[in-house]
Each structure stands twice: as structure tokens, then as C-alpha cells.
Symmetry: C2
Subunit: 187 residues, 2 copies
DNA sequence: ACCTGAACACCGTTCAAGT
DNA sequence: ACCTGAACACCGTTCAAGT
């Protein structure tokens, strides 16, 4: 017969991956509908699995949020890396700020994950590191060009991302707030 | 016997006020302990009243938060009014920013109320109006002195308060973030 | 008038039982 | 190995019954 332990384990894994994808899809639908609560029971029901399965894959709600945010987080990292290669470093900074805003607006889970002080998933830790690395390179270039206050760190930039997102959320004038921040970080 | 409808109604009101104070004290203790959840049942139990009584006084949790925040909110309004009378308008702006941060740090309920888009209590609406009025006067003085971008409104300042608070919460360098904002709002 | 607290619905979380 | 879902504890909210 085709099938031994390997095939069996693979089919288990394949099934597990399918179940995981179903849960993420269900959770994403809720978030897209504006509900960041993500009740585990509700996610389970929407995904057609038992609650225990949700907990097996995502030990905490924050772990679930991180998994949801990962995709957009990777796009933000990409944007940061592209900003580094921007000929005009000031333009790079401006693009990065816009990208940070846009991705947080596009996925509220990302806004939560970016302002969290620690991560549940290895994947997130990796993304945080990659973002910090790209931002560090951008800051270094900006310092050399005299385009930024030299004491600003990648951690500060992350905090400023979160604050800017909140400012935009509370107030109305996105362009003004971006501009205030861009001017404020100049030397 | 002493007592007619008036006395009776007054004693009811007095009792009601006492009960209300007990609930607010209980809620404040929970918030001070770092718990912004404020479960209505828990507040009721801690205050030694029935849940229905909590709901009678505070129709929603946000109404409860507003009542909690009112005291600090009034202090913030005072700070804004003092900032207006500051001989050096730039110093006034800096003091106001610091006061906004300090009061939000001192009462997390205020941070929530400041970033809420609408209010449950009349009292809060009044405080919001008073703050906007003081800030408007300060902005007017700052514009005349050429100390601020002229397009910034009191609403923008409220949004910037909220964003600054978040930045500080996520990052570590309060002084840097205050300074970035102060520079950013200059013309 | 105002307060109480039982009642119902819902969510978090665990864990014995299934496949 | 992995999944299920009953079970228990807790919270939101309402409303009939008390004073």
C-alpha cells in the first residue's frame, strides 16, 4: 500500500495547514468587518473547527493577531528596504512614514502588533528585527546626509509610527500630521 | 415628624450621591491597579451595590470612564488656561504638551476619553469645549507671534496629544518625542 | 424613586474523550 | 498526533420584585 509513517504524517500536516488557513481566513473576515475582538469561540465556529483547535494553533489572542498581521508586516519591511535605496534620503523617510500609515490602516492587526511590547510568534520577532535593520540603515544614511536628528533610533521610529497612526485616527488631517513629524525629526 | 416630600427626596438624593461616590471610588481603584476593563459586575461587587445600580448611574462603560476622567480633565483644562497667560507663547505650548502627557499618564481613563470621538456625559462635552476654547486662544496668540503653523486647529492639537501619548507609551524617550512635536508644529 | 440580584446569553479556557 | 466540544467560570445586560 502507498503510505507509511511519512505519508501519514504528511497528510496530517497538510490537513493541519488547511485547518490553520481556514481559521486565519475566518479571523481576517472578522477583523475586516471592523471587529478586533476576535473571540476564540467565534473564530472556531466561523472556521468550522473546535475551540481547542484554535488554541492549539494560537495559544493566545495576540498570537492570532500576529499571524494575521504577518503578511502586511512583511510588506512594511519591504517598503522600508525600498526606502533605503531611495536616492533622496528625505524622500525615503517620507515614503516610509506613508507606508507605515497605509499598512496600519489596511490591517488593524498590524497596528496592534507594532505597538505591542513583546511578541508571541517567532515569525513576528523576525519581522521586527528585519524592520529595525532596514530602518537602521535608512537612519544611518539620513544621519550622514544631515537629514535627521542623529539621536533618533529605530526603536524611536517604531514608536513614532504608532503615535502617528493614533494621531491620524483621532484627528482628520493626515497630511498635516505627516508633515509635522517629518519636520520634527529634522536636525 | 420632621420630613416631607422635600426632605425625603433630599435624603434619597444624598444616598444616591453616596452610592455614586462609592462606585467611582471602586472603579478608580481598579483603574489605578492598571485594569481599564472595568467589568460592571466587578465594580458593583467592589462598591457593594447591585449591578443595576451601576447601570442606572452609568449607562455605558464609556460613561463610567468619562466620570472617572472628569477630575483630571478639569486639571488639563486649567493647565491650558494657564498656558494662555504665559508671557512666552512657546513656553506655553511646551507646558501644555507636558501637562497633556502627565495627565494622561496619571489617569489612563483620560487617555481613553481624549481619543474618543464622542461623549456620553454632558460634563465631558463641556470639558472638551473648554479645552478647545483655551487651546484656540493659545493657538491664536502663537499665530500672532509666528510661533506655530497657522493651519493647526484645536482639534489637531487634541489628536496630537493622543498620538504623543501613544508614542511615549510605545517608545522610551519622552523628551525626544516632545521636542520632535514642538519643532514640527513651528512654521 | 431608587436599589437589588436572579436570569439569560455569550466568551475564555481547559481537558477528557474521540479519530 | 490531532481534533472535538462539553464543562466551568466569568462578564454584559435586562427586568421583575423589593424598599
Amino acid at each position: 500500500m502507498a503510505g507509511g509513517p511519512t505519508t501519514n504524517s504528511e497528510s496530517l500536516r497538510a490537513d493541519s495547514a488547511r485547518v490553520r488557513a481556514r481559521m486565519l481566513r475566518a479571523a481576517r473576515e472578522r477583523v475586516a468587518a471592523g471587529d478586533l475582538d476576535l473571540p476564540m469561540n467565534a473564530v472556531a465556529k466561523a472556521a468550522g473547527v473546535g475551540v481547542g483547535t484554535v488554541y492549539r494553533h494560537f495559544p493566545t489572542r495576540h498570537a492570532l493577531l500576529e499571524s494575521l498581521a504577518a503578511e502586511r508586516f512583511a510588506l512594511l519591511v519591504q517598503a522600508a528596504e525600498q526606502a533605503v535605496t531611495c536616492p533622496d534620503v528625505a524622500v525615503g523617510l517620507a515614503r516610509l512614514l506613508r507606508a507605515a500609515l497605509e499598512h496600519q490602516r489596511g490591517d488593524p492587526a498590524l497596528a496592534v502588533v507594532l505597538s505591542a511590547s513583546d511578541n508571541a510568534c517567532q515569525e513576528t520577532t523576525e519581522l521586527v528585527r528585519a524592520l529595525a535593520e532596514a530602518v537602521d540603515r535608512l537612519l544611518e544614511r539620513a544621519r550622514e546626509a544631515g537629514a535627521i536628528r542623529p539621536e533618533i533610533t529605530a526603536e524611536d521610529v517604531r514608536a513614532l509610527f504608532c503615535g502617528l497612526q493614533r494621531t491620524v485616527q483621532v484627528g482628520g488631517d493626515t497630511e498635516l500630521y505627516i508633515d509635522i513629524l517629518l519636520r520634527g525629526i529634522r536636525p
